[in-house]
């Protein structure tokens, strides 16, 4: 099972290394939630989505919205590794000398389908893109990743209602359930459980998976694509800070950059993982 998706694991590990590196280099950014969603995101861009890095505005492409727009350190490296722009550009992250914004931005970064950052708003735009697919009679699919803290925003549920109303089965949202947000445990800050029942009650098909298990991730996207007449939401249980031991399950790493020493340790851990994967 792991071998089957070894290439995905390799890419996700490379992306994690780039994510931590760019946050370190910028001395600011959001590593925790970026690391947690990277297995899902890598699977989307390297296995599921129809995209062409040479033609990022292809009207027939699948679309992706990073509704939790602070997780640019997940999306930018993924797009770079997928070939949308050179990996070297990640050095521009959060720098006034360039245009690689702290939160996901669509005009300067090839491959980005929507600017996001203010939580709860990205999912609405994904609904709009899915609606556009239906109106234009295109068979592309639209994906969005939301944070489990983000879903406290009422707009998310407005968007969920509207996607169900228009039977947007070309829309698949993933909630990255890492259980932590800035002020602590999501269960303490604003409890969202039972999340599956809430999403079902809003008219969505719900799939619960381990968000770090490629077999489950791939199958969930296949099930979403096969689901007709309603949108699908994948509740992906993840570990915030996944892949860097001292960041894992620590809300303190939501929006903090590692220092040089921490960077060296993170790098050593992720390079060891990469070596192990590549044999």
């Amino acid at each position: 099972m792991e071998n089957k998706y070894q290439a995905l694991a390799v890419n996700a590990t490379k992306a994690r290394l780039l994510a931590v590196q760019m946050v370190h280099d910028a001395a600011s950014g959001h590593p925790g939630g970026s690391l947690s969603c990277l297995d899902v995101l890598t699977t989307l861009y390297f296995h599921v989505m129809k995209v062409d890095p040479k033609n990022p505005q292809d009207p027939d492409r699948d679309r992706f919205v990073m509704s939790k727009g602070h997780c640019s350190p997940a999306l930018y490296p993924t797009l770079a590794l997928r070939g949308f722009f050179p990996v070297e550009r990640l050095k521009e992250f959060r720098s006034i000398d360039a245009h690689m914004s702290g939160h996901v931005e669509m005009h300067y970064i090839p491959g980005v389908d929507m600017s996001t950052g203010s939580l709860g708003q990205g999912i609405s735009t994904a609904v709009g893109m899915a609606l556009g697919g239906k109106l234009n009679k295109k068979d592309y699919r639209v994906y969005a990743i939301l944070g489990d803290g983000e879903i406290a925003e009422g707009q998310v549920w407005e968007a969920f209602m509207s996607a169900a109303k228009y039977k947007l089965d070309n829309l698949c949202a993933v909630i990255d359930v890492n259980g932590l947000q800035i002020d602590g445990r999501t269960a303490d800050v604003m409890p969202s459980e039972p999340l599956d029942k809430k999403c079902e009650a809003f008219g969505w098909h719900v799939i619960k998976i381990d968000g770090h298990n490629y077999d489950e991730i791939v199958k969930a996207f296949e099930e979403a694509a096969a689901t007709k007449g309603q949108p699908t939401v994948i509740l992906a249980k993840t570990v915030k800070g996944k892949g860097v031991s001292f960041m894992e399950n620590d809300a303190g790493w939501h929006g903090k950059a590692p220092n040089d020493e921490q960077m060296a340790q993170a790098k050593a851990e992720l390079e060891a993982k990469l070596k192990e994967l590549e044999g």
């Binding site: 009207p59 919205v65 931005e105 669509m106 005009h107 389908d113 929507m114 600017s115 996001t116 950052g117 203010s118 709860g120 708003q121 990205g122 999912i123 609405s124 735009t125 994904a126 609904v127 709009g128 893109m129 899915a130 609606l131 556009g132 697919g133 109106l135 234009n136 009422g154 707009q155 407005e158 968007a159 209602m161 509207s162 228009y166």
Partner: protein, 318 residues
């Protein structure tokens, strides 16, 4: 007597009229289609109309996403909720990414009348104008609204347009040489002593004020400033230089809107006396629209009084 039609009604008619010519036009509403007058479009083009329920923030976001798929979405609700409730969505998800979404705020100003302060939006000019890159329109009558709606369909990028609830006299169709262009003021009356710069339904009041002033021997120019942003600086500068003082009039708070825009510009370009007429930084109240307007001094008489004050200030040195 010229035709009377509310700008919201003219807008609703225009949507239907322009639908065939602009197949990419799609219309959103938030459970107010009867009031915002998008109902006609809803009936004629049900496949291009989306009622998003009482959820304005999501409506703006869905329209933003749809605009990236080649559609031209017009989102409709009351000004209070278009500019107020969904302000941050308009700011972050429409204006910052420069998406082609038109935000239409119906029932602007105190002339909402009976519904009272919660629905009388007087801040929309200020808060929409404050967003970088935003275009802000407030046409004055049915003729101008029809032209503005088509202009917006041909304008690529974010824009906000305010509509009014009350039926108002159509004046622009009978003015020689009248044309509509976004960002260009329309001169409705020539004058040399003072310029009244008006927007929305205050334009008709400004024309009445100019008539009254004329009877007193005062020659007032009237500029219809249907575009509050970008401000037609050339027209404002010419008015300042040629008439020496200005009155601005708007059915909105005097803070941050048209009057503020004119003052900001003239303070740097050509300081002349400017008297701002509008709502004096207070909430509205319930009442018959005409009585509410009168209670807040939104009348031709008050505009004329402001004009005389502006003229008197020409002689003041401070």
């Amino acid at each position: 007597m010229a035709e009377k039609i509310a700008t919201r009604a003219a807008y609703g008619n225009a949507l239907v009229e322009l639908a065939e010519k602009y197949p990419e036009l799609v219309v959103f509403d938030a459970d107010l289609a009867g009031a915002t007058m998008t109902k006609g479009f809803m009936k004629a083009y049900p496949d291009r109309f989306f009622d998003m329920g009482i959820a304005e923030c999501n409506m703006v976001g869905v329209a933003a996403g749809l605009s990236t798929c080649g559609k031209k979405p017009f989102v409709n609700t009351f000004a209070m909720f278009a500019a107020g409730r969904a302000w941050e969505q308009v700011r972050n998800t429409v204006c910052y990414p420069r998406l082609n979404v038109k935000v239409i705020g119906s029932h602007g100003g105190l002339s909402v009348g009976e519904d009272g302060a919660t629905h009388q939006c007087i801040e929309d000019f200020a808060i929409m104008r404050a967003i970088p890159g935003m275009t802000v329109l407030c046409p004055c009558d049915g003729n101008e609204m029809r032209l503005a709606t088509e202009a917006l369909l041909n304008y690529e990028g974010p824009a906000y347009m305010r509509l009014g609830r009350l039926a108002v006299e159509t004046v622009t169709d009978s003015i020689d040489g009248y044309t509509f262009e976004i960002g260009k003021a329309s001169k409705l009356a020539e004058g040399k002593d003072v310029t009244i710069i008006a927007t929305g339904m205050m334009v008709q009041m400004a024309l009445k004020a100019a008539e009254a002033l004329k009877a007193e021997g005062i020659s007032a120019r009237v500029l219809d400033m249907h575009t509050i942003k970008p401000l037609d600086e050339a027209a404002v500068l010419a008015a300042a230089k040629e008439t020496g003082c200005i009155v601005t009039t708007e059915e909105a708070n005097v803070l941050g809107g048209l009057g503020a825009a004119v003052c900001e510009y003239l303070a740097e370009a050509c300081p002349v006396p400017v008297v701002r007429h509008g709502v004096n930084d207070e909430f509205g109240r319930s009442g018959k629209a005409e009585k509410v307007l009168a209670a807040y001094d939104l009348t031709p008489e008050k505009i004329a009084e402001c004009a005389k004050k502006a003229i008197s200030l020409k002689k003041v040195s401070c």
